[in-house]
Symmetry: C2
DNA sequence: GAAAGCACTTGCCATAAGACAAGAAATAAT
DNA sequence: ATTATTTCTTGTCTTATGGCAAGTGCTTTC
């Protein structure tokens, strides 16, 4: 594999698209860089783009009625960072998206997305699959929030996204798990003692 | 409006589709009836259809690791009753879908959906919008589960889906809210005393 | 119409998690 | 380096919710 291998080949496999389709798709994405702390999206604005993350970490979060910051998701290499409702319903978002580290991403705007979506069958199949995958993840998280104790949710997060812990504060992890940083600290203590 | 107005006109507005498209779409849906307690979908199976509800109430639920039944959603007139991940990823579901009352629904299978999705641009736009709408609802529910106390979640459910309470046991509402029926009973008592 | 079953409530106690505040420890800023 | 700031831990107390069991009232069933 030469150095020239394009990151987007990882997202759009040459096995599934023709050379022409791949060229068209690639031509529509643009590489963008974010510095640590940069906002990709701010509450109240409408998402004009989405991003495939090539390098770095991103966090999305919402502010609840009492002004608390609640992490809703974390994104890293290979993930799609997108606010689905805002991007597709063309409506103001309730969420923020912020770079946790310097990032390299591949960006696509709405109009360009629409054009690819309606012209390339396989592109819309893949897009739908990605969206449904996000839905599935969210539903599992939602059920877990009801059915599993916080300690189990934390352990599962550790297994599924171990790299996240390197880049996120406990406070931010805690709100993602639906608990306070204090409680998370105690859970971590218990887990440490169990080993 | 004559009696012959088709229920599906409510879903696929004649304002947005040509006569031909509407005829094609209608021809693909079939009306089906479910008796109270009938299962539309069972855990472990793959969703072969989805339904638009014309009349009646449906509940979806998952069984957690300890064997508890957890309500994941309620559907009634005008709603789409679908397990998005199972239907689109063609994979076994973790959920069950069951009629709470006798129901009349309009059913569509996967192959027929695919054909409409790829041949009618507006159909796929609307389908995407519906899916994103479900995603949005689920995300709000998910954030609410973290940010709002159970009493608030219950009050909001009362406002947003008052008709559901007529057809669902408190036990089933409680698991939807992420609490036990005992706690819900106490919350209801408090609310009654506040008035 | 007695019996069985279901839905809901209530009481008592246990437990998980929150609120708040004070320290430690680590990081960043000057 | 020294301060300042943030992050994490810990203690004490409060609160929300769960678990279990008993009791009430409503249906369903035969």
């Amino acid at each position: 594999m030469p150095d020239t291998a394009h990151f987007l080949d990882r997202i759009f496999s040459p096995d599934h698209f023709s050379k022409e389709e791949l060229a068209l798709i690639r031509s529509q994405y643009t590489q963008v860089h974010f510095k640590k702390q940069d906002y990709l999206l701010r509450e109240g604005r409408t998402a004009q783009h989405y991003w495939f993350v090539e390098r770095g970490f991103i966090r999305s979060f919402a502010i609840d009625t009492r002004g608390n910051d609640i992490s809703t998701n974390f994104y890293t290499t290979g993930n799609i960072a997108i606010d689905w409702p805002s991007f597709f319903l063309r409506s103001p978002t309730r969420e923020n998206m912020q770079a946790l580290t310097d990032c390299t991403c591949w960006q696509l705007g709405f109009e360009r997305f629409q054009s690819l979506f309606h012209s390339i069958e396989r592109f819309r199949e893949q897009g739908r699959t990605t969206l449904v995958g996000s839905y599935f993840e969210l539903k599992n998280r939602s059920i877990s929030m009801i059915a599993d104790p916080a300690k189990d949710r934390y352990k599962r997060l550790l297994e599924e996204k171990p790299h996240i812990l390197q880049n996120v504060s406990l406070k931010q992890i805690a709100t993602y798990l639906g608990i306070t940083d204090t409680s998370l600290s105690r859970i971590r203590k218990e887990l440490a003692q169990e080993q």
